[in-house]
Symmetry: C2
Subunit: 135 residues, 2 copies
C-alpha cells in the first residue's frame, strides 16, 4: 500500500481544514496517509514551545523521507507547506499540488518549477476526479 504525505496549512490558517479532512478520507480508501492529523478540525494552530516544535519537525521530515508521494492542498498560503514541498523535491518524491484556481494564486516558486505536478481545480468534483486519477 502506498504511503501518502498529505500537506495542508496548519498555522497559516485553517479555513480549508474541512476540505483537507475530506481529501484525506478519500485518499485513505486507496493508500496509507501518514499525516492524518492535518485534517483534524481540533488541531491547535498555535506555536509550541521549542521542544514540541522540534519533535514536529523531526517527525514530519522523517515522514517526508518515508512516503511514496506527496499530495498538497495549497489554496491557503502556508510557510510550512512550501518548506515541505522543497524538502520532498530534494528527496525526489513525486508531488501533486492542488489549488482552487478561483480563490488562490499559486506561488511562482511552485507554478514555475517543472518538478511539481500542478493541479488547479475549479470545483470540488474536479478536485476529487483528479485525485482519483493519480491514486
Amino acid at each position: 500500500m502506498k504511503k501518502v504525505y498529505f500537506a495542508g496549512s496548519i498555522r497559516g490558517g485553517r479555513v480549508d481544514a474541512e476540505l483537507y479532512k475530506r481529501m484525506i478520507a478519500f485518499i485513505k480508501t486507496r493508500a496509507e496517509v501518514l499525516t492524518e492529523h492535518v485534517g483534524d478540525l481540533s488541531l491547535s494552530v498555535f506555536e509550541g514551545e521549542n521542544g514540541r516544535d522540534r519533535m514536529i519537525y523531526e517527525q514530519d521530515t522523517a515522514w517526508l523521507r518515508e512516503c511514496d508521494l506527496v499530495i498538497a492542498e495549497c489554496t491557503c498560503p502556508s510557510l510550512g507547506v512550501g518548506y515541505e514541498l522543497a524538502y520532498a523535491e530534494r528527496f525526489e518524491k513525486p508531488c501533486y499540488v492542488f489549488y482552487d484556481k478561483n480563490k488562490g494564486n499559486l506561488s511562482a516558486m511552485i507554478n514555475g518549477n517543472e518538478y511539481f505536478r500542478v493541479c488547479p481545480y475549479g470545483s470540488e468534483e474536479e478536485l476529487f476526479c483528479m485525485l482519483s486519477s493519480i491514486m
Copy 2:
C-alpha cells in the same frame, strides 16, 4: 559587499509590503539586496502564464545560490517563502527568519528546525535593532 536575498510574501498576500520596503531600504545601506522588487508596492500578485513563472523561478533560485545570506519576513504566511527557505538551507546559506510574535504563529517546520535563526519581534523598533545586529 554582502549579497542579501530578501524573502517576503507576494502572492500569499501583500499586507506587509510597506514593512518589506522599509526593511529592504535599511538593508541596502549596508549590503546589496538581490530581490528589491519584493518591496515594490505596485508588484502584481497574480499568477503569470507558465513561461513567466518559470523565468521567476529560475531567477529566484539563481539568486538564492548566489546570495551570502537570506533575510525572510514571515509574519504573513507564504508558500513561496517556505520553499525559498528550504532551498537556501539545501545550499547552506545562513537564514534569518523574522516575524511579529503578536500577529503570527511561525510554522513548526521553521521554528522547530535548528538550521534557521528565528528572530521574533514585538515592535518595529525591536525588528530593526535585531536587523542591525546581523548586518
